[in-house]
C-alpha cells in the first residue's frame, strides 16, 4: 500500500522528478488539473466533495511553490534536510535551464494528427520513386499500390476513410479489371483514393489511370 496522497511531497504530487524544468512543472500541473477538476470524467465519483477540494488546494500549493524559483529553492532545502531528495539532484534541478527547444519535449498526439495531411504532402513531394510514377503517361493499379506503400499508409485506413469496399480497393491495386465497378463509380473511387494519399492533380492522375485501364482491357 502506498503513501497517503496528502503526505506526498510536491514533486510526487505532480508526478515529476526533483530536477524537473519549469515547463515540465507547468505541464504536469495542467495534466493533473485535467484529472482532478470537478467536471473531469477520470475522477468522477472517486472522491467526495471535500477530498476533491483538498486535492485541488494541494495541487495549487505545490504548483505555486515549485514554479517560483525562490520558494522552490527553500522547499528543496527542506526536503534535503529531511533526507527525502539528495543534494545533487536538487541542485542540478534548480540550475537546469528550461529551454523551449528542449529535445526531450514530446508533442501531444493531437498536433501530429492535425498535421498528418501536411506531412503526407511533404512525403509525396520528396519521394523520388513516387514522382517517377506520377510522371508516367499511364498509371496502373500496381503503381497506386507502390505509391501507397511508399507513403506507409495501410489499405485498411483508406477503406475506413473513403468507405470504399475492401474488395474493390484490392481489385484496383491488383488491376483485376473484371472485378472493378462501372467506370462512372471507378472514377470517383480513384479520386477518393488519391485524395486520401494527398496526391495531386486529382483529375489528371485519374484520367491517366483510366487510360491505362482501357489499354489493359483491350489487350485482354
Amino acid at each position: 500500500m502506498k503513501k497517503n496522497f496528502a503526505k506526498l511531497n510536491y514533486y510526487e504530487i505532480l508526478d515529476i522528478t526533483p530536477d524537473a524544468a519549469f515547463f515540465e512543472i507547468r505541464h504536469a500541473y495542467n495534466a493533473a488539473i485535467q484529472m482532478y477538476r470537478a467536471d473531469s470524467l477520470v475522477s468522477y465519483s472517486f472522491f467526495s466533495l471535500e477530498e476533491r477540494q483538498e486535492i485541488l488546494n494541494l495541487l495549487e500549493k505545490a504548483y505555486l511553490t515549485l514554479i517560483n524559483g525562490k520558494e522552490r529553492k527553500n522547499y528543496d532545502k527542506e526536503l534535503i534536510q529531511l533526507g527525502i531528495i539528495d543534494n545533487v539532484g536538487g541542485k542540478a534541478g534548480s540550475k537546469r535551464s528550461a529551454g523551449i527547444y528542449d529535445a526531450s519535449r514530446q508533442w501531444g498526439k493531437a498536433a501530429v494528427l492535425k498535421d498528418s495531411k501536411a506531412t503526407l504532402k511533404e512525403k509525396v513531394a520528396q519521394n523520388k520513386h513516387i514522382n517517377e510514377i506520377l510522371s508516367k503517361q499511364e498509371i496502373s493499379g500496381a503503381d497506386l499500390k507502390t505509391i501507397r506503400n511508399e507513403l506507409g499508409v495501410a489499405i485498411e485506413k483508406i477503406a475506413g476513410e473513403t468507405k470504399i469496399r475492401m474488395d474493390y480497393l484490392i481489385s484496383i491495386e491488383e488491376d483485376k479489371v473484371k472485378r472493378l465497378p462501372a467506370a462512372a463509380f471507378l472514377k470517383g473511387f480513384i479520386k477518393s483514393y488519391l485524395k486520401c494519399l494527398c496526391i495531386e492533380p486529382l483529375d489528371d492522375v485519374c484520367v491517366r489511370y483510366m487510360d491505362c485501364l482501357a489499354r489493359i482491357g483491350k489487350n485482354n
Binding site: L41, V42, Y44, S45, E156, G160
Partner: protein, 306 residues
Amino acid sequence: MVHIWPIGGGKGGSGKSFLASSLGRVLAGLGKKTLLIDLDLGAANLHTLVDVPYPVKCLSDFIHKKIPLLENTVLETPVPNLYLISGAHDSLDIANLPYEQKVKTLKAISKLNYEWILLDLGAGTSFNILDFFLISQNSIFITTPEPTSIENVYRLIRSIYFRRIRQYFNAADFKTLEEEVVQEFGEGSFNKPDCIMQAVKRAHPEKSLQLENDFNSFRFKLVLNQLRSKDNIALGAQICKIIEKHLGFQVDFAGNIAFDDRVHDAVCQRVSFLDRYPYTRTAYDLRELSKRIVNSTSEQLLIRYS
C-alpha cells in the same frame, strides 16, 4: 498451464460478453484451447454471441449434480478450439448461488484442463461476482467512457480489494476491525480499502504482509470500450494512474476499443463481428488487445477456500 481471466466491469451493457466472446475467438484462432464460461448468473447470453443457440447442457446441471463433473458440461462451438459452458438454461434461482455451491464451482473451474479460460461475469458487486474475480490473479475490467460506467468500475475495484481483505478474517475479528477503523478514520472510512489496510497493519502485521503480497501479485487490466472519435484517448491511462496514486493498486491499461455501430448489426445477425467486419478499427483494436493479453504472463491461483 492454465490462464484464467475473469472479465467484468460493474456496469451492465459495457461490453463484457462481447469482449469475452471476441477474445475467445481470437485466442482460439491462435490455436489455443479456449473455454468460455458464462458466469453472468441469471442473465446469461454468451451462448448467443458464440453461435450456440440451443445449448443442451449448462452450468446448472453441474451445480444441481445432474452432471457430476464440470468437464462434462462443456459444449463445442462452431469455432474450432473454442468451448463453452453455457448458462442458457440455468435454473431461475441461480443468481443467488449459495456459498458451498460457489466454492464447489470455483474449485472445479480451477481444475479444468484448458489453456485459456475466460469467465464472463455479470454486472454489480455481489459476493459471487467478487469471488469469481478472486479466482485468478489476472482479470480484465471493462468500462465505457461515461461517468456511470467509470463510477461502477471504481466501485468494483474497491469491492474486490475489500472482499480480499475480508477473506482473511472471521466474522468476529472483522467486526472489531471495522470498529477500529471507524473510530480512527471517522464515519464512512470503512468504505476505503486503504484505511482498512492501515488498521490491519497495526493489529495483524502478519496478515497485512500476506495481503500486500496478494495485492502486489494482482495483474488487473483495464479496457476502455466504445471509445468514440471525440473521446479522450488518454482516459484509460489516467484512470489507471488515479487508481494507483490514491488506492495504491496497480492496474495496467490494456487498450481502447473503438465504438462501432456495426457491432450491433453483428450481434443482431448473430455472426462474429471479427469475421463479418475484419477491416474495422474495432476489430483491429480487439486483435491488438488479445495479443497484449496473450503476452502478459503470471499465474497461480489465489483461492483460499479449504
